[in-house]
């Protein structure tokens, strides 16, 4: 996020695209909802009529996978009507001509046809966003979980730069991170091409720095991303995998492919709290301690590094994850001896410039938002106030990429997936109240489709894609468009990701969870 | 558009010509209609048509003599017009024949005659000399019962919209100064100086300002505002316009209780015609001043008479009062500076601007200037609407205007100011009617409701009645009012049921004090007044109820015992039939007996006994 959650209360307009914050990021959603009570305006772009859509001043119910045409179309109108921020563009950006050329062909009429959004709403949205001084863009996985996810993100950035909605209070491009410590895991270099702090493994200076710090020779070859790992495993190139606190069988696209990958390997270690779907494929399961049983830090979407504190002793014979990993390292001849997570933190801070000024003492009460390079630095609530990371912001000319798989005669329905309020990726199924409240999948289908399928709310259907088939109960609602089915991925009983498509963004390797083609048939109860 | 001199004199001319024609005018205020005025109107029209008389049949609003409704005025050219009371459809034929055809008034049914420079009739009191009107002034109310409120021409012909015309030529501050000079104070109850309030709103900074007219008159026994709205709607509009111009507002809202449909209808008509004539709307009378007004109908909540609750209600919220400060003058409707006055206050304004502040302040007392409209009800002979100069004594009001207590009974108390006011006893009869005197005596001027009680009234019962009202109407927001009035009411009920204990008086006093000092709004702060004043002036009645289990006025059923007086009962058996519970028994022509275990103390037997043989004690 370029800006902070506190800043949500300072904006005059939210443009929420591909994000369902009231369910997936409830406290962010709450801030939006309470701002609306005070007159803040709202544009929502989403294929589903999500809760915020009903509160919106303008709701753009686009077809799944048409974010780029929509965004380009809005920019087309903004440029045509001369509503762009010329001063910002001149002072802070480059490449505007490329952008202008790229969006030229995205006329309102054409965009309306591509997205299904009425032309007048395109005009309304473009004008409102461009002319509101404090306008904030919020997006989430509805933007990134496409094969054109990176292009989608670039388009969002284009729009914000075009209108100068960056680097100020109440503005910005604000992707809310899906999981509690995605930000931190990325910051910590749990990425195949990056050391902590996004220092590139291919950079020899960086390599030298870490070799010195860690006392070993390091590889300068970027590693494999998850999809590549799975492919490599199936191909027999990857022999072993150590999986810490992840459940790719349930949460990664094309689950059957994942299962095959796990089965193909010689040795799989899973470090987990529960017997996850993935753990079942393990050769060794190492029981980890939960976040309540250990000290540490999480880094939130707004780049805030905050304390996790041990409240109780590890349950049973479990151990903190860091301890287990260190033990394995030690036994493999690479001693990593830490008495306490604070020691780990001090080491990582010394190697991660953006964390350089952060200590446990400093984050005792309110955390700190990185970049925080020195111990006297107050942290950074708003990014890019003076310049972008690369200096000038670069407009990228982006063209439309249709989803990898679209409904056809054989698989006539479009499947899209996401989270619901009452569950998280993992663990919530083990909360008695949460699980009792939402014990099973309730796939959303449109009333017209329900009639065609002869089903009503609570009935069971078989949903089948080219990759798998699952049973689910349905909820009939006009919150989804007809021709679409929406499912969450929380339920092992209904493993939705057996259906999703094994297609990834070429750069980020993010799976296209948001669009797949499926067939639906009524079936006997689960 | 403007009302030109020529246009005004033309309208006046026509109005006068109409007055010189044979006329029958029916009082069709809400009270007149309730008493059957419409049926009388129909009968009159039918009779006039049948006889083929050259007579104008018109209507007006309530002249104030509610005790005499339905009221019909008959006038012949050159003669005084005679106001008849108690006219039913059955009287119509005879009245028309006698007055309009034979030109002989029916003196026995005539209440008053209005001279207006014309020749008087013998044997009918002139309005100014009549018992009811002699001590009254007719300042705010003077068009009531005299003009047709649905005709703007009647208003204009009688000086209407001269005030705003004059105001538009004045400096805004000069208008406010004139109001200040008049000494006009809020007629809704608070008595805040109107000019000072206007000054606050004038001085308040805001891109938008509002005028709000409080027409949510909700006190039981009060209908001053209704009468003014029904009888002189344009005067209220004109007052609002003058205020709007003075403070710099361009929008007004009249918040009128929904229970006043006729007032709302007449206001709507008045607004429509005023807009059509260019008296209201854009660029009023060519001055560049814009003003529009709309009506918001209340939805049944007494507390919305409290100004901040009223503003919340206009905004579409629960009518719960806001904390003050900020006062509406600074943050009122939609948080904008708002000038909020009641109907009677606004209705006074045109006269003050036309005639000058000095004219107004020549009436009244040192601190309470002008006149005040009162609704007098209860156990008096003349119930109705009256307007008196500030400073008149209660005694004059009771014994002259009100015609004394009904059935020759003794005056016991008067409740001034409705549920927020207090009960004043005989000792206070010589109290001057003004804000300060009433306040010092523990009552309030209020909006002008006066309920009179005689010796048969139990003061605890009265206090209970008003407390029940405020308790039911409490909005529930603040603890003292919500919980406290409930406990006070329960305590009173216990006492009236004979279950009182001596500590109850202390508890009542403590609750009253805390509610008065700690409640959030004026409704709560004044809710204990009926109890406090009755405790102050009629403490012995409380003590009788508590210590002797006796209701001195013979009202509280649980404390009554009905007995048959052996020396009076002739054994006729009527009471046996009257008794709903079979509690009375006795042989024919033998003295009857009431079985106290069966008697439910409903009192049904008492009026049936022709021999006054049933006693309650």
């Amino acid at each position: 996020m370029t800006n902070s959650f506190a800043d949500y209360l300072n904006t005059d307009l939210f443009f929420v695209i591909g994000s369902n914050p009231t369910e997936a990021h409830p406290m962010a959603g709450a801030k939006i909802m309470s701002s609306l009570m005070n007159g803040t305006k709202l544009i929502v772009a989403d294929p589903r009529r999500i809760e915020l859509a009903d509160k919106a001043d303008i709701f753009l119910q686009l077809r799944p996978g048409t974010d780029i045409p929509l965004l380009n179309g809005l920019m087309h109108i903004i440029i045509k009507e001369n509503l762009h921020d010329q001063k910002f563009i001149e002072e802070r950006t480059e490449g505007i001509e490329d952008l202008k050329a790229a969006v030229e062909k995205f006329t309102p009429a054409r965009v309306s046809e591509m997205t299904g959004v009425p032309e007048n709403l395109l005009y309304d949205a473009a004008r409102l966003y461009a002319t509101t001084s404090k306008a904030m863009l919020c997006y989430t996985l509805g933007i990134t979980e496409h094969i054109c996810g990176v292009d989608n993100v670039m388009s969002v950035a284009n729009l914000a730069m075009l209108t100068g909605h960056l680097g100020r209070e109440g503005t910005g491009v604000n992707p809310q991170r899906g999981q509690n410590n995605v930000q931190g895991a990325c910051d910590m270099g749990a990425l195949p091409g990056d050391y902590p702090g996004y220092q590139k493994v291919v950079n020899p200076e960086v390599q030298a720095k870490f070799e010195k710090a860690w006392g070993v020779k390091l590889s300068n070859q970027p590693g494999l991303t998850i999809p590549d790992m799975m492919d490599a495993a199936v191909e027999g190139k990857l022999k072993a995998m150590y999986i810490l606190g992840e459940d790719p069988v349930l949460t990664d696209p094309d689950a059957n492919h994942i299962k095959k990958a796990l089965q193909s390997m010689d040795f799989v270690v899973v470090q987990e709290l529960f017997m996850s779907e993935t753990a079942k494929f393990a050769d060794v399961i190492l029981p980890g301690a939960s976040f309540t049983e250990k000290d540490g830090t999480f880094t939130s979407s707004e780049r805030r590094v905050q304390r996790v504190r041990k409240a109780i002793e590890p349950i049973g014979d479990t151990r903190p994850d860091w301890w287990i990993v260190c033990e394995v390292a030690k036994r493999m001849g690479y001693p990593m001896a830490y008495a306490h997570p604070e020691e780990i933190f001090n080491e990582l801070a010394s190697l991660t410039p953006s964390y350089g000024g952060i200590t446990y003492d400093r984050i005792e009460h309110c955390g700190l938002q990185w970049p925080c390079p020195t111990v006297d630095h107050p942290g950074t609530p708003i990014l890019h106030t003076k310049a972008f990371a690369r200096g000038k912001g670069l407009f990228k000319a982006i063209d439309h990429t249709p989803p990898a798989e679209m409904p056809d005669e054989e698989y006539p329905y479009l499947l899209s997936t996401g989270r619901i309020l009452y569950h998280y990726n993992v663990t919530t199924r083990y909360s008695s109240a949460l699980d009792a409240h939402r014990p099973e999948e309730a796939a959303m289908i449109h009333p017209a489709d329900a009639v065609m399928l002869g089903v009503g709310t609570g009935d069971t259907v078989q949903v089948t894609s080219r990759r798998g088939s699952v049973k689910t109960k349905v909820a009939v609602t006009d919150k989804v468009q007809s021709g679409m089915i929406w499912m969450s991925f929380h339920y092992r009983e209904t493993p939705t990701n057996e259906l999703t498509v094994n297609a990834f963004d070429p750069i980020s390797k993010t799976g296209e969870y948001k669009v797949a083609a499926v067939r639906i048939e009524k079936t006997s109860p689960m | 558009m403007s009302i030109s001199k020529e246009m005004r004199s033309d309208i006046e001319e026509r109005y006068k010509r109409n007055l010189e024609r044979p006329r029958i005018v029916v009082g069709l205020g809400t009270c007149g209609i309730a008493a059957g005025g419409n049926k009388v109107m129909d009968a009159i029209k039918a009779e006039v048509a049948k006889k083929g008389l050259d007579v104008d049949v018109d209507f007006t609003s309530c002249i104030g003599m509610c005790f005499a409704e339905p009221v019909v005025e008959m006038a012949l050219p050159g003669r005084a017009s005679v106001v008849y009371g108690g006219v039913g459809p059955e009287n119509v034929v005879q009245l028309i024949e006698s007055h309009m055809v034979q030109k002989t008034p029916v003196a026995e049914q005539a209440q008053i005659q209005i001279l207006g420079g014309a020749e008087a009739y013998e044997g009918i009191p002139a309005m100014e000399k009549s018992e009811y009107y002699e001590q009254q002034v007719r300042s705010v109310t003077w068009r009531l019962g005299r003009t047709n409120p649905e005709r703007i021409e009647d208003y204009i012909a009688t000086g209407g919209y001269e005030g705003i015309q004059k105001a538009l030529t004045m400096d805004r501050i000069a208008i406010i100064d004139e109001i200040k000079k008049s000494g006009l104070r809020g007629r809704g109850g608070g008595g805040f100086p109107t000019g000072t309030k206007w000054q606050f709103v004038h001085d308040a900074v805001g891109d938008k300002k509002y005028i709000v007219c409080n027409a949510d008159e909700g006190d039981p026994g009060a209908f001053m505002d209704r009468s003014v709205l029904e009888g002189d709607p344009h005067a209220v509009l004109e007052g609002m316009m003058i205020a709007a111009y003075a403070i710099g507002a361009d929008e007004g809202v009249i918040y009128c209780r929904a229970e006043y449909p006729l007032a709302i209808r007449r206001l709507n008509m008045a607004i429509k015609v005023a807009e059509e004539m260019g008296i209201m709307g854009e660029n009023i009378m060519g001055s560049g001043f814009n003003f529009k007004v709309r009506i918001k109908a209340g939805a049944g909540a007494f507390v919305c008479g409290e100004e901040t609750a009223l503003l919340n209600s206009i905004e579409g919220q629960r009518g719960m009062p806001r904390v003050r400060p900020p006062f509406p003058a600074h943050k009122g409707l939609w948080q904008k500076p708002t000038c909020l006055n009641n109907v009677e206050t606004f209705a006074n304004v045109p006269n003050i601007i036309r005639k000058g502040g000095d004219w107004f302040s020549s009436m009244g007392t040192e601190k309470s200037k002008g006149s005040k409209v009162f609704c007098i009800t209860g156990k008096i002979n003349h119930t109705g609407l009256c307007e008196v100069p500030m400073g008149m004594t209660l005694r004059d009001l009771v014994y002259n205007i009100a015609g004394g207590i009904k059935d020759g009974k003794k005056f016991k108390a008067v409740q001034s100011g409705g549920p927020s006011g207090g009960c004043l006893p005989t000792e206070k009869l010589d109290l001057s009617i003004d804000y300060e005197s009433l306040g010092q005596a523990g009552a309030i001027m209020g909006s002008g409701g006066l309920v009179f009680m005689d010796e048969d009234s139990c003061m605890l019962d009265i206090a209970k009645y008003f407390l029940n009202f405020t308790q039911m109407e409490s909005c529930g927001k603040c603890t003292p009012c919500r919980e406290g009035t409930k406990r006070m009411l329960e305590t009173l009920e216990r006492i009236c049921e004979g279950n009182g204990v001596p500590e109850d008086i202390d508890n009542l006093e403590r609750l009253a004090k805390v509610i008065k000092t700690s409640a959030l709004c004026a409704l709560g702060q004044t809710a204990p007044n009926p109890v406090l004043t009755t405790l102050k002036y009629f403490r012995d009645e409380y003590e009788a109820h508590i210590n002797e289990k006796r209701c001195p006025a013979g009202v509280c059923p649980e404390l009554l015992n009905y007995t048959i007086l052996a020396d009076k009962c002739i054994g006729c058996g009527v009471c046996i039939k009257a008794c709903p519970t079979g509690a009375i028994s006795g042989e024919k022509k033998a003295v009857h007996v009431i079985d106290p275990t069966k008697c439910v103390k409903c009192g049904a037997c008492v009026p049936k006994c022709k021999f006054d043989a049933i006693a309650k004690a």
């Binding site: 410590n181 270099g189 749990a190 050391y195 990857l238 022999k239 990664d252 190492l286 349950i315 036994r331 | -």
Partner: protein, 352 residues
């Protein structure tokens, strides 16, 4: 910002302009009770418990909604003030169950504290009291509206903090009640069970269902941590008694969320004590998992990975780190993979 100076009980105190009298009084060290007042919510001035005497004012003044002005003379404990506060408390207690002995909120209840402080007992006036049915038919929150003192903090939190306004005042006067549209139970309303209402309730009217009967307030140790259920980074307090987490409550000092949480953060932490937790290392032997010692499991892992590394090279091994684990865990994991195994094959589900 300009300051104003006033006296509170004879003590001079200087506060920024715009400060309320109650805040000034607190600053001056005076005790002024409040119930409906909340610094983060709008100010209704409804409960009236905070009344004080201000020189020149006709009535007592609700200090929570009155702005301190220059030269103001405030008295916080005159006989009139004390009488008003005691009476208001008596009125509240007369419409409140006398079950402090078994009330979950005991020990953390403002009504109880003030009643104690002012030595106020129930039953001063008697009379009718509310007899609402206990609402415990949802999974998260128990509502006992008989204990509600109508301070309205719950509905203000619901509207102003969560932007939902699921509840509001309904009816009026003595019958006023905080309820949902159509007076339905929460379970049948649009409530999303965030529990912000519970967090601000000053009495036992609203309680976390899972914690009822588990601990007295004073037995609970609260440990602040960061919520694990999404990327917003809310802070919360783990409520611990006897080495067990009873539940979570919000912590007003939390930078992003204050006292607000969502249903998962407030009511979903119990998964930690799920009997389905893995508590022993497991080794798959003949297709079935068998419990082992840590040494055995760790040695096996080290050995197997070492073998594969030796046989197929470092790049034949990969690791998934976790977006749900701490920074320290992730740092250690990638360091282990890079420095210990010698490959950059480390990734995590950064994209979900």
């Amino acid at each position: 910002m300009p300051n104003v100076t006033l006296t509170v009980d004879g003590t001079q105190v200087t506060v920024p302009k715009g400060t309320t009298v109650v805040e000034a009084a607190w600053k001056a060290g005076a005790f002024v009770p409040t119930l409906c007042h909340d610094p983060e919510l709008s100010k209704p001035g409804a409960c009236r418990i905070c009344v004080v005497e201000v020189k020149g004012a006709r009535n007592l003044v609700a200090s929570c909604v009155t702005e301190a002005v220059e030269g103001m003379e405030v008295q916080t404990s005159t006989p009139a003030v004390i009488e008003a506060r005691k009476t208001i408390l008596e009125l509240m207690l007369d419409n409140h169950p006398e079950d402090c002995l078994t009330c979950h909120q005991a020990g953390d209840c403002k009504l109880q504290d003030y009643a104690y402080f002012y030595n106020v007992k129930p039953g001063a006036f008697g009379g009718e009291s509310h007899q609402y049915e206990l609402e415990d038919d949802n999974l998260f929150i128990v509502r006992n509206m008989n204990k509600c003192i109508l301070c309205g903090k719950c509905l203000r939190a619901c509207e102003e903090k969560q932007g939902r306004a699921v509840i509001d005042f309904a009816y009026r006067g003595f019958k006023t009640k905080v309820t949902t549209a159509l007076d339905q139970p929460l379970a049948d309303s649009v409530c999303v069970s965030c529990g912000s209402c519970v967090a601000v309730c000053p009495t036992g009217a609203l309680t976390e269902k899972a914690m009822l009967g588990k601990a007295r307030k004073w037995e609970i140790e609260k440990i602040r941590t960061t919520c694990p259920f999404c990327g917003v980074g809310c802070n919360l307090d783990l409520n611990v008694k006897g080495g067990k987490i009873l539940g979570a409550t919000s912590n007003p000092a939390s930078p992003t969320n204050g006292r607000d949480l969502c249903v998962k953060g407030r009511f979903g932490i119990d998964y930690v004590h799920s009997p389905k937790r893995l508590t022993k290392p497991l080794i798959k032997k003949n297709g079935a998992f068998v419990e082992s010692s840590w040494d055995e499991a760790l040695d096996l892992v080290a050995t197997k990975l070492g073998e594969i590394k030796n046989k197929f090279g470092s790049d034949a091994i990969a690791a998934l780190s976790s977006a749900r684990c701490t920074n320290e865990d992730n740092y250690v994991m990638q360091k282990f993979v890079r420095a210990g195994i010698g490959t950059n094959n480390v990734d995590h589900c950064a994209r979900t």
